[in-house]
Amino acid sequence: MIETPGLMPTEDLFPIFVNAMFTKNFLLIMFLGLCSYVGLTTNSETSKGMSMAVTFVMTMSAILTWPIYHYLLSPASIIGKDLTFLRTICFILIIASFVQLVEFIIRRFSPPLYKSLGIYLPLIATNCAVLGVVLMNIQEGFTYGASIIYAFAAGLGYSWVMLATAAVREKLIMRGVDLFSGFIGAFFAATMVALIVVSYFSVVKL
């Protein structure tokens, strides 16, 4: 019999947080959400907007998808049937409709924020980092609290890598290194940042 994980976190939250932010960073180590990464890190303003939007949508999707999976789809749910094969389709629909809703709300209540995020919001629905984080929550069997913390930390991890790479690339483009304005430069910059993370955490063990 599969039991539903509880609402309050019973796990040790610090390793979850550091894992999501550094050692299992979504962009550099798990390779999720790379399309926006290579496309948007030429400019630190746009990467800031995208990071904020992604962090917000990740956290909110974790809040929405966990109850739906554990109370509707899982065999231990109130329906009592194994509907877990529907998880991918359910999650993508939830994320897409939520992104649409967020777009409406921001446009109605905060036009300046909408203006700075506007074009990136619809892109988030097909960002694999968002779907990745909700699937990881289910796969790891997190409690509700831990899943929200995990999603938020994953968003922060995404943000710092976006900003770090944007800083490297922007500076090099400004100095006239044209190579870094294209995809090739994005991958070379990613190699550098990834090497830093990997070698730091292979020396400093958590």
Binding site: L135, T191, A194
Partner: protein, 235 residues
């Protein structure tokens, strides 16, 4: 519209519209599962199934899909095939299912599949769409296996050749040398180099794809220079 040949469409998908090196779409699975040749092969097979299914169905339904809600409908069609391939892998190839992890459900949000549905299958009849699907899948598979083999050779100093095969009624990835008729192939092709472990870690993936893209860029630049010289430009 001019009639396009079936084979021509396949070749265009492999070279001119190569999804990884030319269109630069759907990079996440390319980098994440290309740690070895075997994983790359498994991912390529799963991707081909989804790509063909989605292209065929989108192209069959292209007159019925209302333009305003086409993207959600594409995602639903793709999602159906992804769920199918997820369940097939879980049932018949559990080791591959473990190795690919969440990257199988993540084919849903792979930009190549949605991109081809939108740019090609939605505007073309079924037969060219199948050709496009085959071409793009082969192009994806070639890129994935190229990166996978490079990383495996540089990272471990050898290349394990595997093949999808059914042995004693059990489907799985077996070494090529154990398949009848291929016994002359060595199990591991080893290279006389010092293995660099960094190549199988995440930075190695970024480095490999950056180096390969740089190589392709230099090659295409050379080709263009030659053409310009032929046309009589001074460079």
């Amino acid at each position: 519209m001019a009639k396009k040949s079936f084979v021509g469409e396949i070749i265009r998908g492999i070279i001119k519209d190569n999804p990884v090196f030319v269109l630069v779409l759907g990079l996440c699975p390319v980098l994440a599962v290309s740690t070895s040749f075997a994983n790359a092969l498994g991912m390529a097979l799963a991707f081909t199934f989804v790509m063909l299914g989605s292209n065929i169905f989108v192209s069959l339904l292209r007159k019925q899909i209302p333009p305003g809600v086409r993207i959600p409908i594409f995602i639903l069609i793709i999602c159906t095939f992804v769920t199918m391939v997820d369940m097939i892998l879980e049932a018949f190839l559990p080791p591959m299912y473990e190795a690919l992890g969440i990257f199988v459900p993540l084919i849903v949000v792979n930009c190549i599949v949605i991109g081809r549905a939108e740019a090609y299958a939605n505007r073309n009849p079924v037969l060219p769409s199948i050709a496009d699907g085959i071409g793009i899948s082969i192009g994806f598979a070639v890129a994935l296996m190229l990166i996978g083999s490079i990383r495996e050779i540089l990272g471990t100093g050898g290349l394990k050749l595997v093949m999808l095969w059914s042995e004693a009624g059990k489907l799985g990835f077996y070494p090529l040398s154990s398949i009848p008729g291929f016994s002359f192939v060595p199990e591991v092709i080893s290279f006389p180099i010092e293995p660099a472990i960094v190549m199988v870690t995440p930075p190695g993936a970024f480095l490999t794809i950056a180096a390969l893209m740089l190589l392709f860029k230099i090659m295409s630049d050379r080709k263009r220079m030659k053409q310009l010289k032929k046309e009589g430009y001074e460079i």
